[in-house]
């Protein structure tokens, strides 16, 4: 394959549009999903028998479950499961050093505007090219601390005693139709184990990409922080523009043991033909903290409700989320907080922006059963509407039993005020700049929660999305 040597400086900073590069796929399981597809995946990956059984059982669950259209959008019915390929790999073994990474993959990263130095600086960059990790470099310091950071296939082969104990325990196969689908065909994703007391200084990162037309990607990530451990994991996604719908259905399971802390950061920018149907959930044991920081931009339909089950006393769950829906996009996001022990606290802050004919939806669940005491929940969701046809919905569900808890939920919907825009324009800003500035102001206090480089990327993405939405 010939790679052109384009001078990077000639690429405009906002050229995020076309990331399509030629496909090279040694393994291809064909279209649709049957037992044969699963046998094929297992054979290629060399899965142990228990995984093969697990996958086949999950396929049965997937086929038996109806689409959740009695509460979710009817757009789900447009997913043609037979038109997707469920497994694809370019057959590469994970690479050891940066130099071995294919040029076209690097080039895609460059287009994202992330400087190479920064990439090298960040600990354990793991880039996912299609289903398998194309690049894997765990910083020596992290490995020395005894941290396991591998892709999920390697995790289940090399560390079955830890992997099997928690795999599928936080999100059971039958949780929903899409978690069942993921359980049947999962490939890729990360497996992280942080030993007791270890505090991982650098955030661990993985960049996911989709690079094959009509190809669904089904990552499976499992992160375990043992007693008193701390870890921050970041994922960022960009997808090339495709002509037909692409299905992405990941399952992410987090386990925070006693006193542990896990932060999971996502910044996503899917192309607007992607169905992104993700199940994410964490278990927080005694005194543990699980925090989801989530930013959803792009996609045709995103359905994602990160959840925390607070299983031990004084556990804490947090979801901080930003969603941006442009024309043709529906961001159906939210949070699920299940209090299962005394004195547990949870916090949900969600901000959404609807541009053009975009639709942003908040859907939440807070559950506090009766035998508990001292549980607290705070939920805030704010929506900003930019254009007259923009749309936003909020559907929380809060169930509290007993007189020893406190919950509060607040939501507001508003516009960027005309006064604000007038004020800024009077000082020489164009209407679009004024709008962009106001929108960035709206999410500013949440953007601060993201790591610095992500919050810069986020600001850039918002500027791009806002282009042409006014005037």
């Amino acid at each position: 394959m010939v790679i052109e040597n384009t001078d990077l400086s000639t690429i405009a900073p906002d050229s995020t549009g076309n990331f399509t590069f030629p496909e090279r796929n040694k393994y291809d399981s064909g279209y649709g999903i049957t037992e044969k597809t699963i046998d094929y995946i297992c054979d290629v990956k060399g899965d142990p028998d228990w995984i093969r059984e697990f996958r086949k059982k999950a396929l049965g669950v997937f086929n038996s479950k109806p689409m959740p259209t009695h509460w979710a959008t009817k757009d789900l019915e447009n997913i043609k499961f037979d038109e997707f390929r469920y497994y694809l790999s370019d057959g590469q073994k994970p690479k050891r050093s940066w130099d071995d990474v294919p040029e076209d993959v690097k080039k895609t990263f460059d287009r994202l505007g992330i400087p190479e130095q920064e990439r090298k600086f960040l600990a354990g960059v793991e880039a996912q090219y299609d289903s398998e990790a194309a690049y894997s470099n765990i910083k020596a310091a992290v490995a020395e601390q005894g941290v396991i950071f591998v892709n999920s296939t390697e995790g289940l082969h090399k560390y079955p005693e830890i992997f099997r104990k928690w795999f599928g325990k936080v999100i059971p196969t039958g949780d929903n139709k899409f978690s069942a689908l993921n359980s049947a065909v999962f490939s890729g994703g990360s497996f992280i184990y942080v030993p007791p007391g270890v505090k991982v200084k650098h955030p661990l990162q993985a960049y996911f990409r989709i690079n094959s037309e009509q190809f669904g990607q089904f990552e499976r990530t499992l992160i375990i922080a043992d007693e008193g451990a701390e870890v921050m994991y970041m994922e960022g996604c960009t997808a090339p523009k495709f002509e037909t719908a692409t299905l992405h259905s990941a399952v992410v399971e987090l386990v925070a043991m006693k006193g542990a802390k896990i932060q999971y950061v996502t910044v996503q920018n899917w192309s607007s033909n992607v169905f992104n149907l993700v199940t994410k959930r964490g278990i927080a044991h005694e005194d543990a903290v699980v925090k989801w920081i989530d930013c959803n931009i792009g996609s045709r339909l995103t359905m994602k409700y990160p959840g925390v089950v607070m299983k031990g006393k004084r556990a804490r769950g947090e979801v901080i989320s930003i969603a941006l829906a442009n024309s043709g996009q529906h961001q159906d996001t939210g949070a699920k907080m299940v209090h299962a022990a005394d004195d547990t606290t949870s916090n949900v802050i969600s901000k959404s922006i609807s541009i053009g004919e975009g639709r942003a939806t908040y859907r939440g669940l807070v559950h506090i059963p009766k035998h508990l005491k001292g549980c607290k929940n705070n939920t805030e969701c704010d929506a900003l509407l930019i254009n007259p046809n923009s749309r936003t919905d909020t559907y929380p569900a809060i169930s509290v039993r007993g007189n020893q808890h406190a919950t509060q939920h607040e939501a507001s919907v508003s516009q960027v005020s005309a006064d604000q825009i007038f004020y800024l324009m009077q000082r020489g800003l164009t209407e679009a700049e004024a709008m962009s500035l106001s929108v960035n102001g709206f999410i500013n206090d949440l953007a601060k929660e993201f790591p610095m480089e992500y919050s810069v990327e986020l600001k850039r993405l918002i500027d791009l999305e806002m282009e042409g939405s006014v005037g």
């Binding site: 009695h70 509460w71 009766k370 929506a383 509407l385 254009n387 007259p388 046809n389 923009s390 749309r391 936003t392 919905d393 909020t394 559907y395 929380p396 569900a397 809060i398 169930s399 509290v400 039993r401 007993g402 007189n403 020893q404 808890h405 406190a406 919950t407 509060q408 939920h409 607040e410 939501a411 507001s412 919907v413 508003s414 516009q415």
Partner: protein, 451 residues
């Protein structure tokens, strides 16, 4: 007894041997003896009965019934209420204490009008029983009678109401007429395993004003069902206050479907008081159809024991420059459960909408449960919307403050709960109605303390 009783249509006798496919005991209403009724009405009731039979009982999995259960409505054990004895009727009339300055009082027992006193109403105001309206105000009914789609999950029960309706009140206030004091309507059910189907229609013409109160009561604690529909239609520039006060006995079940429509520059306040029954579900819809109209949706409830209060609301903003504000307050005791599901729906083009929604739950026991689902769907621009929902116990500081001033624990808690509920009541801005509601709450509170 008032002579108007004779105007009631002949009783619909339940055909107890005619079981419906689903085995319900509420049998097909007999139509043969109602030939005096207008043809259009007979057609509608007949087709409603068909709909009722065809529609399934809502599943617990259907979203409008989340956390609730339609199977708690014991349809199989109920039959339409038969005529009450003269003693029961007399007792009901005596116990229907109107508020001091009521402009009119109507008393229905088992869906039959037994008393009316409407002397104080201004000239031109129509305040008649449903049966009289069918005879004398056909056009009004044709125009407004159950014209609405059922949005909140009880299409089946709306059909049941329409199939059986024969009692209730129709109020029409002509242009510029102001009825200062409330019209008070009492619905009693005295028989066990009996169902009543009271209907209320209040229509105002331009710049008219009226207030109406519906009381739903039963004379014993046996199983009863009140399946009521109230439609409130405010003409341009008019103002209506409507209060529904449900105090059925211990095993009572209430399904109250109400809707309001506000036309240009009009104002409606609707208030749901839920005090009785073991299961009470209210579905309240506000349609804001005219510019610059306003709708206030208010409610208080005090469920105790195993009571379930199930509240579903919908604020539909169909026109620009409209305002709606909802405040629902529940004080829960024992093993009681409250469910609030509200939706603000701002339609395309309904720009400059202000819509607010607040549900607050005060949990007074370890086993009480509050579920809230406040929702928003916004499809317009220049909209100001917010919703809030809280669930919490009585704050220790408030309690401490009162106790420090020598007020005993029970009394302090009573004061806090009454105060908590009262700020929804005071939004009515009508002293006599507010006093009435406060008295009903105090009465329930007294029974609570004794128990």
């Amino acid at each position: 007894m008032d002579s108007t009783v004779l105007d009631n249509p002949p009783d619909i006798l339940p055909e107890r041997d005619t079981l419906t496919p689903s085995g319900l005991q509420i049998a097909v209403p007999s139509r043969d003896d109602r030939e005096t009724l207008p043809a259009w009405f007979r057609e509608r009731t007949a087709s409603a009965w068909k709909d009722f039979q065809q529609l399934p009982v809502p599943s617990i999995k259907s979203e409008p019934w989340r956390y609730s259960n339609a199977k708690r409505i014991s349809l199989a054990e109920l039959h339409p209420a038969g005529a009450a004895s003269a003693t029961d009727e007399q007792q009901a009339i005596e116990q229907s204490h109107p508020i001091n300055n009521a402009a009119a009082r109507l008393v229905f027992v088992n869906d039959r009008l037994v008393h009316r006193d409407a002397a104080k109403l201004p000239a031109g105001v129509v305040c008649v029983s449903f049966a009289e309206a069918l005879r004398d105000h056909e056009e009004l009914l044709k125009q407004h009678f159950m014209k609405r789609e059922s949005f909140l999950g009880s299409a089946k029960f709306a059909s049941l109401h329409l199939a059986h309706v024969k009692a209730g009140t129709v109020v029409f206030v002509p242009k510029n007429v102001v009825v200062e004091h409330p019209i008070e309507i009492f619905h009693w059910v005295t028989e066990s395993n009996a169902a009543i189907f009271p209907h209320t229609l209040v229509v105002t013409s331009e710049h008219a004003q009226v207030k109406a109160i519906d009381h739903y009561r039963s004379s014993n604690d046996a199983l009863t069902l009140s399946c009521a529909v109230a439609d409130i239609i405010a003409g341009a520039g008019s103002s209506i206050t409507y209060v529904s006060c449900q105090e059925l006995g211990e095993k009572g079940q209430a399904l109250h479907l109400s809707s309001t429509s506000t036309h240009r520059d009009s104002k409606v306040k609707s208030f749901q008081v839920q005090l009785g029954g073991e299961f009470s579900r209210s579905e309240s819809v506000s349609d804001l159809v005219g510019e610059n109209s306003r709708s206030d949706m208010l409610s208080v409830s005090m469920p105790v024991g195993d009571q379930l209060v199930d509240q579903r609301t919908l604020q539909r903003h169909l026109a620009p420059h409209t305002y709606s504000d909802l405040l629902y307050k529940n004080a829960l005791y024992d093993r009681a459960h409250s469910i609030f599901s509200g939706l603000i729906h701002v339609f395309e083009g309904a720009h400059y909408t202000d819509a607010y929604q607040t549900c607050r739950n005060l949990l007074n026991s370890e086993e009480a449960e509050a579920s809230s689902m406040p929702g928003l769907e916004i499809n317009a621009d220049q909209v100001k919307c917010s919703h809030g929902s809280t669930s919490s116990p009585v704050s220790d500081e408030e309690l401490f403050y009162l106790k420090a001033r020598g007020i005993p624990d029970t009394e302090a808690r009573r004061l806090i709960v009454i105060g908590f509920l009262a700020n929804a009541v005071s939004r009515l801005e009508d002293e006599s109605i507010e006093t009435m509601i406060r008295e009903r709450m105090e009465e329930k509170f007294a029974s609570l303390v004794v128990a």
